[in-house]
Amino acid sequence: MPSSETPIRRGALARQVLPYALLSPAVLVTLAIVFFPMAQAAWMSLHDYILFKPKEFPFVGLKNFFTAFQDEVFWISLRHTVLWIALTVPAQMLLGLVTALLLNQRFPWRALARALIIIPWALPSVVIALMWVWIYDANYGILNEFLLRMGLLKASIPWLADPDTALYAIILTLTWQGFPFFAVMILAGLQSIPKSYYEAASLDGASAWQQFWYITLPGISGVLITAVLLRTIWVANSIDVIFVMTGGGPGYATYTLPLYAFIKARTNLDFGYGSALAVLFTLMLLGLVIVYLRRTGRATS
């Protein structure tokens, strides 16, 4: 809010300036490490920029973007990204919801169960990825061993080396990693619902399902939507687990758009094209980001 023309007392001025002064370090750092690289990526995406030819930086306009639309790998990666988000986030949410409802019941050792459930979320992604690589291993993996002994499989399946199963195997891993986030958020939401609602409902003869549908779900809907939005953005951007588990392979079977952009820039050193892919993906995610910002804006105002 800019200061008015009328003379104001020093105290009032200080009160107006102080918040900006206190905020400015954070804003400056964010500008430097988030917005500056973003602008730089947008700028690079309009150029032919191959890192090992540092002297050449010709402006090519939207060429990189048109190349992307004709690039088979771009469409493969986009399809995988859509699958990746559309399966992982709902699966995490459902699992998280069930877990939260269970943890909201009274039972002995509940505190311990609540602490244990957070483990997948607390582990570093690289550790999770390596752990699941071993679980899925075709020769020694416990999953194959288990299914073989149960008689559910005739021969072990190379889960991560088969293009038909690799992406789904990683989606399962990510679901396992991310569901505690939902569980904890939803649990917090559950505990904010007054007990008296349930008492009143049971007096009126509402069944457990009706209580869930008319009291619990509306009660946690705010938390749920925010969590889904946040998680969608995170899951969409996350490449660490895929990168460690398969590196995108076999072939392009586990390429997602952020991973493709990363490989193009970091491994092929084609920063122009890599940036164009990143910019395209950012534009696609922008819709979600706007919805999220509007919600948080409304919540604070």
Partner: protein
């Protein structure tokens, strides 16, 4: 993406700040050792004792991102003064103008005569300049399980036909659970596996010139590899994603009966398998033999502040005695004649397999495209061919396209 760039920018900023306070005669050296039992500090101490005015800052950079880090740090202006480098990276580094020619320094150096013959020719750049000083070398050969061959009364395969036959016989279900638990050959389908493919394909008189890989002979070679996996099933099912760790691990664990690698892994294999493991040159395929020459050199960068100090350090590493120490750590072979003579680190059968493979050891083409071939084009297309998404002909066409368009 943006998160990565911002992290890189931050890291770069910190490094610039850190390097600003350094003394002038500090040599920043990058290397990559898998061996946790790191000997570099002993070599650094020895060098610094002999050259008190030079300080060495040696940094062990993880192999998986070694070249990614090297290229980006050079472009960002804070690369090392000297580093361990391989031939496939040379064309790119030359194109970036990052390398300092050291031909004159090598000519004037008294250690030159002690270098193994031919190594300086192999590491010469396409423009006839010398930028690399060899520091170690290996040649890829065939590892096989002596005991399994004997058990089945088989001979070491000398041709591709024998190789296929032996691999099929070695693929066995030893515990009668209905699926094989030993596979004939451990093929590396992930990054780095081009060496395996090349031995079975480029031996057929095929190279990377236009139309060569896409010729009948070229496609036949790749088809041979694909068939070994899909039809003959002599590679483990996990092959498309298998990297170094998996392939060597499976061989040591007895899951595979043959594989291709170099002497660097021989001590680990002997530790796991003892006398049961032996080695021979790769089989002859389609009338010729082809195996990879695994090179490793050191180079001085044109951005180095004190090039004399950097040269002193890298020539120190390739001198008698020091080179032996260096190679004891990496498990590869010394480049000095004097150290080679007294070499006892490896069992003789592996040294013999290496020496016998030298006559047909090759390097990949010395052009910038080779980096992409190694890092993305080969692995992605090999995996797609192995899993049946594309044909052998399509795979070879993609490689031909990379090199010739």
């Amino acid at each position: 993406m943006s998160r990565f760039i911002s992290a890189a920018a931050l890291a770069a900023g910190l490094m610039v700040a850190a390097s600003a306070v350094k003394a002038e005669d500090t040599v920043r050296f990058w290397y990559h050792f898998d061996n946790a039992d790191n000997p570099m500090s002993a070599l650094v101490e020895k060098f610094e004792a002999a050259n008190p005015d030079i300080k060495i800052e040696a940094e062990n950079v993880p192999w998986n991102s070694y070249y990614d880090n090297l290229y980006t740090s050079i472009v960002a202006g804070n690369g090392p003064d000297a580093a361990m480098v391989k031939m496939f990276a040379q064309p790119r580094l030359v194109e970036m103008g990052a390398l300092e020619p050291i031909g004159d320094r090598i000519d004037a150096w008294d250690g030159k005569a002690d270098l193994q013959d031919n190594l300086l020719d192999l590491t010469k750049a396409a423009n006839e300049e010398t930028y690399y000083l060899p520091v170690q070398y290996v040649v890829l050969y065939l590892y096989y399980r002596q005991d399994m061959l004997e058990e089945l009364g088989l001979e070491v395969p000398k041709t591709c036909e024998e190789f296929r036959d032996v691999a099929m016989k070695l693929t066995r279900d030893t515990d009668d659970n209905g699926q094989p638990d030993v596979y004939g050959f451990g093929f590396r389908g992930g990054k780095g596996g081009h060496d395996h493919w090349a031995s079975l394909v480029l031996s057929r008189g095929v190279d990377f010139e236009k139309g060569s890989l896409t010729s009948e002979k070229g496609v036949e070679g790749t088809q041979f590899v694909v068939d070994l996996f899909q039809k003959d099933k002599v590679f483990p099912a996990s092959t498309p994603n298998d990297g170094f760790k998996e392939v060597i691990g499976a061989f040591k664990a007895g899951k595979t009966a043959m594989t291709i690698h170099h002497i660097g892994s021989s001590n680990g294999m002997v530790e796991a398998l003892g006398d049961k493991v032996s080695a021979a040159p790769v089989p002859e395929c389609g009338g010729g033999r082809w195996t990879s020459f695994g090179d490793e050199s050191t180079a001085v960068f044109s951005s180095a502040e004190n090039k004399d100090a950097a040269w002193k350090w890298i020539s120190f590493l390739s001198s008698q005695g020091n080179n032996a120490e260096f190679n004891k750590a990496t498990g590869q072979l010394p480049v000095t004649k004097s150290d080679s003579k007294e070499w006892t680190l490896h069992d003789k059968r592996f040294v013999d397999a290496t020496v016998n493979s030298l006559p047909f050891a090759h390097l990949l083409p010395n052009v910038p495209e080779t980096s992409d071939f190694v890092n993305t084009v080969w692995p992605v297309n090999m995996q797609r061919a192995l899993t049946g998404e594309i044909t052998a002909a399509e795979m070879n066409a993609a490689i031909d396209d990379l090199y010739n368009n």
